[in-house]
Amino acid sequence: MNPKKTLLVSHAPFWHDGGGIPERSYHTLLAALPAACAGIAFYGAPALGVICLSISTAILWELLMNRIMRRPITVGDGNAALVGLLLAMLLPASAPWWVVVLGTFLAIVIGMQIFGGIGGNPFNPVVLGTAILSVAYGRHLDFDAGLVNFTFTAFASSTDPISALKAFGPEAVSHLRYLDLFLGKQVGGIGSTCGAAIVLGGIYLIFRGFIRWEISIAFLASVYLSAALFNMADPTRFAPPLFHLVTGYTLIGAFFLATENSSSPVNLFPMLIYGALGGVLTVLIRNIGAYTDGVLFAILVINLTNPLVDKIRPRAIGKAA
């Protein structure tokens, strides 16, 4: 008899489509890269510095937590790197180093690891981290104050359009062209201003099936519609809908933040409700709330509603009753 062979035994199914978490993370990183590069092009080395620091500390925090909690090392799956990159993209290029390190600590440790790591987080860790920073150290996240030493010759306005809107009303921003804003010619976060690059990445992710398009589309449609309603009610106080779409965190929120897997719903109607609610809240906060940009808080609120709305699901087949 021939020598015994060891066969591999496991459970059905014996096929797999080959997808995995690393694949998802790395492709999302890839999709975010154009917008990040646009930020580096606009703000130069400081932006690059923030991005590098953010990604590396995010990975280190995760590694540290893996070690402390004696869990398998998970940094290889790319999720920490993705959190780091997205966090950097929301920050101004002028963010001091300790704000970045604190931000990744909040996102990785408070936002994810204490909930059990990937898949366990009830809130989008990036949004949670940035929101805490903006409440606690708003000064360092204020684009106008932080970026005062940069010269923006290419931009039509050297202030953040959305805070200008908040402070002085639509008149103050009426000279800005939407196309310029969409192409990133505005003051803002490192990777959140160049709408064209973000949309490009978002469409890539949608077609690859890495994010759920229902959420993005519902979010954007609802921002547009609710801003349009406000604008119709009083054009002198409220900016037109397109302005809201191309400024602030709207686009990066719709494609990269609201769609985070663990904190968003998976069924069709819940996804639409979740996205739409996010859009409405964003516009409400921007137009009549206390904060300049509503996206972060809107996303935190819809994250909170996720378990509830996701209860609306199609009836499973074959139920006796």
């Binding site: 014996f14 995995g20 790591g117 099936g209």
Partner: protein, 427 residues
């Protein structure tokens, strides 16, 4: 193995084999030196009737004790050389009987006498281990009277040809089998599930209601057909409580042939799929070691390869080439080491891919959290465990590579055991 398409938005789409190209007749595998048969009852040292050294004839009914209901039909003539315990799936204890075969084949006559009277008793006595593995215990159980028999004419998994091949080539035997089942059981309602593409070949030719199914996976899964027939799915009490019982078409054909010839069929049709995906149809004695079939088609197996009984979505991996093919082994699938995707211990990341792909609308992302924690009852009551039609697509797409399907099967098995024990304790 089929990979995710570049445009991940589109769902994976699989089709069953239609066995249209099976004009070639199956390769007959020679009777091996040794066969191994299983009696589905725990091993007992003190068997009076079954001992090593005893000679058996082809078609002889082997039992550990005279009164035992569990038996197996010898598929060869020869001498018993070993009787030992065998641990089957889910830790079930069986008895393995190994027989060294003899050149001169002799047929046992017990069945030919009984065959004159096709009663349920005869069926239950001689057929539980015949090709297609029909189960008659549910028909004899009067707590849940069965009112409908469903003859399953499909392939319960991808790549497999066996079921449809038998349906196509043994239609007369199946018809005869239907008559025998009808007379023996007294059940009037008999349905036969066949592919929609070939309904016209069967309607009117068969004495049963024809139930068509689609060719896209998982339309032909038995539970999917049950749902199409009744609009319901079984809970932990099983299909019997619904009054419906399934037979494979191969089993019905075997019954039809057996009563016509007065001889028990002992050969099984098997689809053998090699590492490149090439398929061969074989016919072999039940109990033939897998290795003998692989050798017949020149398939070599290396370390860390995988051999699977059944298809790629729902089969069972086996640990040795020496294991025998059983009466329910429709296919043997060989996978090269490099084609094997490993499971991981990542948690669910809530990506929703399983929700998009599940044909039964099971909230897999929630269900899997409960099953991982062993909370089977909650999974069944709150998260639709019993709506799962066991297709395995959720595991196929899961990026966390969670063995979801295995959790589901295990949960159903455990709950079924509890319910069975409770039923037995009732006065």
């Amino acid at each position: 193995m089929r990979k995710r398409s570049f445009f991940g938005l589109s769902k994976p789409c699989f089709r069953y084999e239609l066995a249209t190209g099976t004009t070639v007749s199956p390769v007959v595998i020679p009777v091996p030196e040794k066969v191994t048969l299983y009696i589905k009852t725990p091993y007992q040292k003190t068997s009076a009737v079954l001992k090593p050294g005893r000679s058996v004839k082809t078609g002889e009914r082997l039992v550990l004790h005279e009164a035992d209901p569990c038996s197996v039909i010898s598929s060869v003539t020869g001498t018993i050389c070993d009787i030992s315990p065998f641990l089957a799936d889910f830790g079930n204890a069986w008895t393995a009987v190994t027989i060294r075969t003899d050149k001169n084949e002799m047929a046992d006559t017990a069945f030919s006498k009984a065959a004159e009277q096709p009663s349920l008793d005869t069926l239950n006595r001689f057929f539980p281990s015949c090709p297609g593995e029909p189960d008659f215990s549910a028909l004899a159980d009067d707590r849940h009277p069965v009112h409908t028999l469903v003859i399953y004419g499909g392939n319960a998994d991808l790549l497999i040809d066996t079921g449809l091949y038998v349906l196509k080539t043994h239609i007369d035997a199946i018809n005869a089998g239907i008559q025998i089942l009808r007379n023996a059981t007294g059940i009037r309602n008999i349905a036969i599930a066949v592919p929609r593409e070939s309904v016209q070949n069967y309607s009117g030719h068969l004495d049963a209601q024809v139930q068509p199914f689609g060719s896209a996976y998982p339309q032909a899964q038995p539970l999917m057909i049950l749902h199409a027939l009744t609009g319901r799915l079984p809970d932990e009490t099983g299909t019997a409580a619904m009054g419906i019982h399934f037979f494979r078409a191969e089993a019905v054909a075997a019954i039809g042939r057996a009563f016509a010839d007065g001889r028990l069929p002992v050969e099984k049709n098997v689809t053998v799929i090699d590492k490149t995906g090439k398929k061969h149809l074989a016919i072999a004695r039940i109990g033939t070691p897998v290795g003998a079939l692989l050798k017949a088609f020149g398939i070599t197996v290396d370390n860390q390869d995988r051999i699977i009984f059944g298809g790629p979505m729902t089969g069972n991996a086996i640990y040795s080439e020496d294991l025998p093919i059983g009466p329910d082994t429709d296919a043997i699938l060989v996978q090269a080491k490099s084609d094997i995707a490993l499971y991981s211990d990542y948690p669910c990341i809530n990506c929703g891919d399983c929700i998009r792909v599940c044909p039964a609308h099971v909230p897999v992302n929630l269900l899997v959290r409960f099953l991982e924690a062993g909370q089977y009852t909650d999974g069944a009551e709150l998260y639709d465990l019993y709506s799962c039609i066991e297709c395995g697509l959720c595991s196929y797409v899961c990026p966390s590579r969670i063995p979801i399907f295995q959790y589901i099967k295990l949960a159903k098995y455990e709950l079924g055991r509890i319910s069975f024990a409770e039923e037995m304790n009732e006065p």
